[in-house]
Amino acid sequence: MSEVSARRQQAFRILMRRHMPRALRVAQRIVRDPAEADDIGQEAFMRVWTHAASFDPQVAKFTTWLYRIVLNLTFDRTRRRTFLPLEEAGDVPDLGPHAVERLIADEELSLLNRAMAGLSDRQRGAIALFHMEGLSGEEAAKAMDVSAKAFESLLGRARATLKANIQKIQETGSYA
């Protein structure tokens, strides 16, 4: 990162190769649109380049800093957005080699993606950081720029809402 601060493009390329998938993954989990996630990932690394000098490794890890940039960009965009069709509720990932198990898993994931669409962006962000990225509660709170207690509350509400949405979808076909 110090080499990126010194404007060395080769170091920046290596940094992007390592961390771009991470940025895209988190952005896509929240915005649920691959094209928009790509835009956010690119903008995030433009900010990494232009603000590299302000990064302090004593204060936070690079990944925490990157997550914060991605989340801020994502929340800014979704705040401006007024409408997102439910059909844009993300791709279903390929889970395993066995077709029947995959079908069950696909159905579960499809149900989960629909239920996730009913969460707020911040709730989806909390789930992405804690469950998908495997950050600890403290690290995720730091990345989201909230207190550990606030993060606990956010994650708890996210999981509770998700469960309620899943139940509603199973009963009525829609979480709304």
Partner: protein, 142 residues
């Protein structure tokens, strides 16, 4: 920790006690060893596994995004990459200021390099100087 607190923590943090806040782990491990506790964790663990599945990001897609970032950087005006002192080189008064500074430097150097000769002030020398001046005036071609 009561079973109800254990359940609430599991609903918030999921089925892996080792990922719960450190202060709660010791007591949670004891409850997790019971059949009731294990069932609570198992139920939450199933949701955890679903939530942990990440969208698939192909390498080509990430590389394409990286390339677009590099293209945007290349299109940025170059002065943004230059250090702050570079702006001084574009200062309009740079040439006159540099000339003045050079003249001052040469003056200081000359003053230091030339031998300092203190003209004598006794009456004989003064008279000699005066006559030399007159002699130059009368004897010159002017």
């Amino acid at each position: 920790m009561t079973p109800e607190q254990f359940r609430q923590l599991a609903e918030t943090w999921g089925g892996d006690v080792e990922r719960w806040p450190e202060a709660t782990r010791e007591a949670a491990r004891r409850l997790a060893a019971s059949a009731e506790g294990a069932a609570v964790l198992d139920e939450q663990g199933r949701l955890d596994r679903l939530l942990a599945v990440a969208p698939e990001i192909e390498t080509a897609r990430a590389d394409r995004s990286s390339l677009l970032v590099l293209q945007r950087l290349a299109a940025m005006p170059q002065q943004n990459h230059r250090p702050s002192w570079y702006r001084l080189l574009r200062w309009p008064a740079l040439v006159p200021a540099a000339s003045l500074a050079c003249s001052a430097l040469v003056g200081v150097w000359l003053a230091g390099a030339m031998p300092y000769v203190h003209s004598p002030s006794d009456p004989l020398s003064v008279m000699s100087g005066v006559f030399d001046v007159y002699a130059m005036g009368f004897g010159s071609v002017q």
